[in-house]
């Protein structure tokens, strides 16, 4: 055992390198913790690997013919895939809230909260770790899509931008999941509540069908739905077409999600634990 206990002025009272650097460092350490947990339970990645593939196969081969006509299946895949990307991101964010909910129940967060780290560090760390999951969604969707015949019709820089936008959106949308994870009692309930949110958003968009086939009231919803605009931007970046309009609205939504849900999540977290 080592030196005696440090008392009084010998002890540092402020984090190394200022509080923002400390938040980044602590969040990074906690993100690494989440990633280690992921590698221990690879089945936790099903929702960002197998599930997007199933949806892609199902909508292309099962419903694609009925929606776009038998000859239009390939063209349908071109439109569907950027949409699937958005849906899978939204679905992939659900696990974040579930995991955080489980952590709080187990008392792991009590330890973190008794340490001199920013209160938000455990949440920020968990959100950052999800970058890996969102990247997996993009890689799997684009990879399997290309085997099925999807062709990127733009350049490499647009593709990188498309992936970056997808991950960025996932990071912002994830805070909704964090908030729900802090509010409800069990991980199962997190999933239930998040499905109620994610399904209307992903299906009430033009991911699967053109908006002009819908009744007027539903079109109105589709036009404000952030998923519609994310998909619009992703389509522009991957298969060509106008990007700016959808991109600006998507970025606006992302900022809005952060402004609203980060404080809500932090408040719920402080109340909860």
């Amino acid at each position: 055992m080592t030196a005696a206990v440090l008392t009084g002025p010998d002890r540092l009272d402020h984090p190394r390198g200022g509080s923002f650097a400390a938040l980044l460092r602590h969040s990074g350490a906690l993100a690494k913790r989440s990633l280690i947990k992921t590698t221990r339970t690879p089945e936790a990645l099903i929702d960002v690997t197998i599930q997007p593939v199933i949806f892609l196969l199902m909508f292309t081969y099962l419903f694609g013919g009925a929606i776009a006509g038998v000859g239009g299946r390939q063209g349908y895949l071109q439109l569907l895939l950027p949409g699937m990307l958005a849906q899978s991101l939204a679905m992939g964010s659900i696990a974040l809230g579930q995991n955080l909910n489980a952590d709080i129940e187990k008392g792991v967060f009590d330890r973190f909260r008794s340490l001199p780290v920013s209160r938000s560090a455990p949440l920020v760390g968990a959100v950052l770790a999800d970058i890996v999951r969102y990247f997996t969604v993009c890689a799997v969707t684009l990879g399997v899509g290309s085997i099925m015949g999807f062709r990127i019709e733009t350049g490499a820089s647009e593709t990188v931008a498309a992936v970056a936008l997808a991950i960025g959106f996932g990071l912002c949308f994830g805070w909704v999941s964090v908030w729900v994870g802090m509010l409800v009692r069990t991980p199962g309930a997190v999933q239930g509540v998040m499905f109620l949110l994610v399904f209307p958003l992903s299906f009430g968009s033009d991911v699967f069908v053109p908006a002009d086939t819908l009744p007027g009231w539903l079109q109105a919803f589709v036009h404000v739905n952030p998923i519609t605009h994310l998909v619009g931007a992703e389509r522009g970046l991957l298969i060509g077409g106008p990007v700016a309009h959808h991109l600006i609205i998507t970025l606006g939504w992302m900022a809005g999600l952060l402004v609203v849900f980060v404080p809500l999540a932090l408040r719920a977290y402080n109340k909860r634990a």
Binding site: R33, I36, S114, A273
Partner: protein, 354 residues
């Protein structure tokens, strides 16, 4: 586990005859809480709790489930804001400067809060990094603590493969990463078998010997007696007694030495031997109370030295025994006695009001 050298409690109880009492005590208190109140819905978890712990000592917070022990620890460890009251830990206001407090405390909660998916090393390194150690120092500290807690072999395995006792040790190690001045242990031995419990006691004594101060909650009178320099008894969110272990035992009846001779016919001889070590004013008596098996004799004694006299005397008299042991009053008995007193005072107060 480290060698469990019995560290005598640092007895500072007899100090302060020099007229400097006030100044000395304030300087010396490493935990000081006054008037803590906390309500959850309809439950008044803390109803005006005062606590004081001197530097370098162990304070035992004793009470049944739901008494408010955990709530009190969570307030002192900055996890919970009280509705009312003040608390200072290591001389720092818990409510005003919680981050400063967090640099000086270690907390081990009631349920082992180690991360099951992380290995022993990863758990401790993470805590070190969150305490602003460099990664290299965090690793060094992890290796040191794992060795000290006899977990070196299991260091690379996920904590979910650990036994209950190993998890507790890892949990305790995690709370020591930052060389805390004050260690909070919330029921550190609940659910452990007796041997593991004594290992844990050794760890606590060792920490105190190195200069830490330990506040521990427990449901076991035996544990508080073994470790604490002072005991605070809490019930229904209120402190109902505060005393040294000996003082508390005096109030609730102290220890009993019980002997059951193999041959019931030797009971009169046993009674004579036990009488010789009886606490002042007490006598040995055959066990007759309801529920106890006849054929044994008990005597209230003042300390465990009585055993040193009784055992040779029994051997000398050629009495074989089936049972011989010291018994502390149970927590139930403590509460019965203390809450009895407590109710009396309430009654007196209400009479006075009438």
């Amino acid at each position: 586990m480290p060698a469990l050298t019995r560290t005598l409690p640092l007895s500072t109880r007899e100090l302060d005859d020099d007229g400097m009492r006030g100044a000395r005590i304030v300087d010396d208190l490493v935990v000081r809480a006054e008037g803590l109140r906390k309500r959850f819905g309809n439950t008044q978890a803390l109803d005006g709790v005062d606590l004081a712990m001197r530097r370098g000592t162990v304070l035992g917070v004793l009470g049944p489930n739901g008494a408010g022990k955990t709530t009190a620890v969570r307030v002192l460890a900055t996890l919970l804001r009280p509705d009312e009251g003040t608390a200072f830990v290591a001389g720092i206001d818990v409510l005003r400067e919680p981050q400063k407090v967090r640099r000086r405390i270690g907390l081990t909660g009631q349920y082992a809060s180690v991360d099951e998916d992380l290995t022993g090393t990863q758990n401790l390194v993470l805590i070190g990094q969150l305490l602003d150690l460099t990664t290299r120092d965090a690793r060094k500290r992890a290796v040191e603590l794992l060795a000290w807690f006899d977990l070196t072999e299991a260091a690379g395995r996920p904590a979910k493969t650990y036994s209950g006792g190993m998890r507790r040790r890892l949990d305790l190690a995690a709370s020591l990463v930052g060389h805390p001045e004050v260690i909070f242990l919330d029921e550190p031995t609940t659910g452990l078998d007796p041997a593991k419990r004594e290992d844990m006691w050794g760890v606590v004594r060792n920490q105190v010997a190195q200069g830490s101060s330990v506040l521990l909650t427990t449901q076991y009178l035996e544990e508080a007696d073994a470790l604490a320099d002072e005991i605070v008894v809490i019930n229904h969110g209120k402190v109902i007694a505060q005393d040294t272990p000996d003082g508390l035992k005096r109030r609730v009846g102290g220890q009993t030495l019980r002997v059951r001779p193999a041959d019931p016919g030797r009971l009169p001889d046993v009674l004579r031997i036990l009488d010789a070590v009886a606490a002042p004013g007490m006598n040995a008596a055959p066990d007759g109370s309801a529920g106890s098996r006849p054929g044994a004799a008990s005597v209230p004694v003042t300390g465990d030295l009585a055993l040193d006299e009784v055992v040779p005397a029994l051997r000398h008299a050629g009495i074989a025994v089936n049972e011989l042991g010291l018994h502390l009053p149970s927590l139930d008995e403590v509460f019965h006695t203390l809450t009895g007193d407590h109710d009396d005072t309430i009654d007196k107060r209400s009479e006075a009001l009438v």
